[in-house]
């Protein structure tokens, strides 16, 4: 295969990844690195660079719509971005020193965990009515649109949420993914934010988190323009299409299938990592 053919195949794969990622809520970034390394034999460093760039594109694209609709909580997002950017810088610094096979194994574990989270996907409908001290100090509470008009909510568990966000940022920097699943976990479970607010605010934060590590990877020569091009354009197009179809689509079966695929990719990443074939 020459560069043109390979670029086209990678672009098609990326469109599919972005489409399914948006439909199922898992995000396209999580399958890009396994696809590039396992199916095309691309070095995992280039794969991580390309994936990270595509993550910035999709999250910023989606965030643009959500911010306008008034779901995202900008204060919560900005405050927690301190944790995710510190985490991203730490994660990247670790990645530069870690053997590639170890990164592959960690990636596999994260894939399996994401699959598990998406398959379970139940969320608390509990909304906090009393803020904790930090939330009160930082005025983190907000409103979001519902069928019955704007609903107010308060925020709890800020220190725990901040800690989980640090881990999310670290995984993002280490693996070149958005780690939206962990971000939602922090806001939905630890901080008791309404689910829709959690997912959209997570999306809002992913771009900034990824930009923190993208600069470092760019500097180290991980971001190859020729490879990042089809991946970024493909995932962006796919996820925009996916978001459009999402309104009204029945995705339970699809999500189940996609989580199984993600879990299998996880197993293969771990296997290849242990064998030293990454």
């Amino acid at each position: 295969m020459n560069t043109l053919e390979l670029s086209l195949v990678i672009a098609v794969g990326s469109v599919l990844a972005g489409f399914l990622g948006a439909l199922t809520g898992l995000g396209g970034g999580v399958v890009i690195v396994p696809m590039l390394t396992l199916a095309f034999g691309i070095d995992i460093r280039y794969a991580i660079g390309a994936s990270l760039v595509s993550v910035i594109a999709t999250s910023s694209g989606a965030a643009a719509a959500y911010v306008k609709e008034g779901y995202s909580n900008i204060r919560v997002g900005m405050f927690l971005e301190i944790a995710t950017t510190i985490g991203a810088i730490t994660g990247t610094a670790i990645a530069l020193r870690l053997p590639l096979r170890v990164i592959a194994v960690i990636f596999g574990v994260v894939l399996m965990y994401s699959a598990y989270l998406s398959w379970r996907q139940e969320h608390d409908s509990m909304v906090a009515h009393q803020p904790d001290r930090l939330a009160k100090l930082l005025r983190l509470g907000g409103t979001f649109p519902t069928a019955n008009g704007l609903q107010h909510y308060e925020v709890q568990g800020v220190p725990l949420g901040f800690g989980v966000m640090y881990v999310a940022g670290m995984l993002s920097g280490l693996l070149g993914i958005g780690s939206g699943a962990v971000k939602v976990l922090a806001m939905d479970k630890a901080m008791k934010l309404p689910f829709k607010v959690s997912t959209t605010t997570s999306n809002f934060m992913i771009g900034v988190t990824a930009a923190a590590s993208a600069g470092i990877y760019l500097n180290r020569g991980y971001i190859d323009p020729a490879l990042a091009m089809p991946v970024m354009l493909g995932v962006l197009a796919g996820s925009l299409a996916g978001a459009r179809v999402l309104a009204g689509a029945q995705v339970r079966t699809l999500r189940l299938i996609f989580s199984i695929v993600v879990a299998l990719l996880g197993v293969e990443m771990i296997f290849n990592g242990l064998k030293g074939r990454i």
């Binding site: 670029s7 910035i56 910023s60 965030a63 971005e81 810088i89 990247t92 771009g207």
Partner: protein
């Protein structure tokens, strides 16, 4: 500060993100096409990691390559625009919170901006 109410800030921020991503995607698409037209028949070379040439790993180098109409440099410039989009969003947040005289959040956003700049300067890690 009614003129800088959260709603208006949200709207501006949404537009900023949309324009940044669309502009970056256009640059990458067009220069990517040019790259494939010239180098498409060559064998791909990302199976083995050699790292990017020095001039494609820092902002001045990328700008120089882009101005020379080097297609690789142009794609990389588009990617740089993409990375700059969330950074621009944070810069705008600093200004917006400043207009609202919300100094706690000015400090928070400045911290995030500082961390981003630290990451983007990147070489000392």
């Amino acid at each position: 500060m009614a003129g800088w109410a959260d709603e208006r800030v949200d709207n501006f921020m949404g537009n900023l993100l949309r324009i940044g991503v669309s502009a970056a995607a256009m640059v990458v698409l067009v220069s990517g096409g040019a790259y494939l037209a010239r180098h498409g028949h060559e064998a791909p070379r990302y199976q083995v990691f050699i790292g990017e040439p020095k001039e494609l790993t820092n902002v001045p180098g990328i700008v120089e390559q882009a101005l020379a109409w080097n297609s690789n440099g142009l794609i990389q410039f588009g990617l740089l625009m993409l990375i700059a989009t969330p950074v621009a969003r944070v810069v705008f947040s600093v200004i917006a919170f400043g207009m609202q005289r919300d100094w706690v959040y000015v400090a928070i956003t400045l911290t995030v901006l500082g961390l981003l700049c630290f990451g983007l300067s990147g070489s000392h890690l």
